[in-house]
């Protein structure tokens, strides 16, 4: 059971990490209801948290499966996570709108 939860957590971290990186890009920021350009501070925050989440996914994968399986799992799960972000941006963009709105208020 903890294995399944960890797997879900790895995927979630990869997905959210790439979602943050995508949001920091002008095109997607605009698409999500922000201005033409993602503000510099927000962009920095998004990029840093995006990379941190990807790193967290790696750490979780190594904890779950050890060095060899863990690194292999991470290297493949992040692709699945990134493809899921692409699908979200294409067909379910409203899932990410609340997060974008929140960041606009904070920024």
């Amino acid at each position: 059971m903890p294995d399944a939860i960890l797997l879900l957590a790895i995927f979630a971290a990869a997905y959210l990490g790439f979602a943050a990186l995508a949001m920091s890009q002008d095109r997607h920021w605009h698409h999500l209801g922000g201005g033409r350009h993602c503000p510099r501070r927000t962009c920095m925050v998004l990029r840093c948290s995006g990379w941190a989440l990807l790193l967290a996914a790696l750490v979780l994968a190594l904890v779950r499966d050890g060095a060899s399986f863990g690194s292999l799992l991470w290297a493949t799960v992040i692709t699945v996570g990134a493809l899921s972000v692409v699908a979200t941006l294409s067909w379910r963009v409203h899932w990410l709108r609340p997060a974008a709105r929140l960041l606009q208020h904070l920024g």
């Binding site: 790439f18 995508a22 095109r27 997607h28 499966d65 060899s68 399986f69 290297a75 493949t76 990134a82």
Partner: protein, 512 residues
């Protein structure tokens, strides 16, 4: 300079893609299916849909078949032992009439009826790495060429991508077909790059001794056996003595092998020269807990059962090769990774297919204006290698459920008839695509949907394992998984066909 370099990479990417795309798609598709080769075996050979094997069964159940192999003077007697994915024992030896494959139920020791199919492990998986072209290893070399081309395509694709970071997450399904296809090609290519590169590289590394033969040929003076003895620790086989000889207890040797590896499970049993006084028994270790594909084996003298030698662990030089092979073969126990491989393999198929489509869409108009034939030729090639490959696979599954056990026609046995169906149907899809290019994509998508649904229905009718039943029995989950994927594939193909027919209607209105 910059412009010239990018242009030349663009040329390389375009033309190696167009020329080798069909081959690459076939290899990627069959490789993706091979991820579940043993599950496909269970689907195609209903007699091996057995509950999980008891952990302890006597290897002596093999004795009668061993005696048969010895009587036939077979050069070998090979046994694959049950694993988590495979409940039956697989036995192979050679009769004068040809190789004999049999399954044994480890619970009862009963030999199961000949399934009459090559199924996943003997058709789909070998197709993936050697295209079933054995002559002069041509199949192996073609796959190697395609693997090398895939790496070239990965690298040149990154170089010619103008906005790799801006477009990193960009897929715009509402755009025009040409833009949409390029988006999809870019997204699957860039995001899938780590997997596609690694899987092509590791695929090449598996056959390094074939693809880069000069290194060992020079060092070992062309002595293949001596080289393999050093690299893989194989014991150089002794010839037949011609004297008859017995075979010591299978169970005693297996127990000794397990003891040598601290109680590890066993993967296979392989006897060289069965029935001969110089027979050698080789027992292989099963290690599903690591990525590396280990090749630990113990060798016993057949008649006495005395240990000759054994290996435990991999030499440093080979450990990288074994790790890369292992991550390609996925014989380890890790279901999440297995499914991820399957999904990323499909992403690779999408990548190759969209590459073709983009080539076609960006030239269609121009070629029509100039009266060139290129688009038509490549379109036939693309249709046949993409949807045609899916149709041939679907026909392979359908005919497997239609032919009764023991069927034969035109001097071909059941397994051969299935393979003939695959190739003839595949050929027909190319013919159709070249003869009627306007409706080829749509028609073939409908055919894929029809064949995939028919396969599920026929599995129900012929075996009674419909989805509710297979989902409620643990040992039938592979069947449920295959049925669900077939239904999902059918739905996907039907949606694609509907979209295409809508597009062609809009196109016709616009032209009128």
């Amino acid at each position: 300079m910059e412009q010239g370099f990018r242009a030349s990479m663009n040329w390389l990417h375009t033309w190696s893609g167009v020329v080798l795309g069909g081959l690459l798609f076939a290899i990627f598709w069959m490789g993706t299916l091979s991820v579940f080769d043993r599950e496909i075996d269970r689907w195609m050979a209903p007699m091996i849909r057995l509950p999980a094997a008891e952990k302890t069964f006597s290897l002596e159940v093999l004795r009668p078949l061993y005696e048969a192999a010895a009587a036939a003077k077979s050069p070998f007697f090979s046994v694959g032992l049950p694993t988590d994915r495979d409940a039956a024992i697989r036995v192979l030896w050679r009769e004068p009439s040809g190789p004999v494959h049999r399954f044994i139920d480890p619970g009862t020791g009963v030999m199961l009826p000949d399934p009459g199919t090559l199924a996943g492990t003997r058709f789909i998986f070998p197709f993936h790495y050697m295209l079933h072209i054995r002559f002069q290893d041509i199949g192996l070399w073609l796959v190697g060429l395609a693997g090398m081309a895939m790496m070239v395509l990965c690298v040149s694709g990154v170089i010619i991508h103008r906005k790799i970071f801006t477009d990193f997450f960009t897929f715009r399904p509402e755009k025009k077909p040409r833009r949409l296809i390029l988006d999809l090609h870019n997204v699957t290519g860039v995001l899938g790059l780590p997997f596609h590169f690694l899987i092509s590289l590791s695929g090449l590394v598996i056959f390094w001794a074939t693809y880069f033969p000069s290194s060992w040929q020079v060092t070992y003076n062309g002595d293949r056996l001596a080289f393999f003895a050093d690299a893989y620790g194989n014991v150089i086989p002794k010839g037949r003595s011609g004297e008859p000889g017995g075979m010591a207890s299978f169970d005693a040797m297996a127990a000794e092998a397990r003891r040598l590896w601290d109680g590890s499970a066993l993967r296979y049993v392989f006897v060289r020269n069965p029935g001969d006084a110089k027979s050698v028994m080789q027992i292989g270790r099963l290690d599903e807990g690591i990525v590396s594909s280990t090749y630990d084996a113990a060798y016993f003298d057949g008649p006495t059962g005395a240990l000759i030698s054994y290996r435990n662990g991999t030499a440093p030089v080979m450990s990288t090769q074994r790790f890369l092979s292992g991550l390609h073969f996925i014989q380890f126990h890790h279901w999440s990774l297995r499914w991820i491989y399957f999904v990323l393999g499909l992403a690779g198929c999408v990548l190759i297919a969209t590459g073709y489509l983009f080539w076609l869409e960006s030239r269609r108009k121009k070629h029509a204006q100039l009266g060139l034939k290129g688009v038509r030729i490549v379109e036939g090639l693309a249709v046949g290698s993409v949807t045609g490959m899916l149709i041939a696979t679907g026909a392979f599954f359908v005919v497997n459920r239609l032919l009764p056990l023991g069927a034969s026609a035109w001097g071909q046995d059941r397994a051969a008839l299935e393979v003939w169906t695959f190739y003839l149907v595949w050929l027909a899809t190319f013919a159709q695509a070249w003869a009627r290019p306007q409706r080829a994509w749509m028609g073939q998508c409908w055919t894929v949907a029809a064949l995939a649904s028919a396969a599920v229905l026929l599995n129900w009718i012929t075996t009674g394992d419909q989805l509710l039943r297979s989902l409620s029995h643990r040992h039938l989950w592979p069947i449920a998984g295959m049925d669900i994927l077939l239904l999902a594939g059918a739905a996907f193909a039907a949606v694609a066909a509907l979209r295409l027919s809508r597009l062609s209607r809009i196109g016709r209105v616009r032209h009128a």
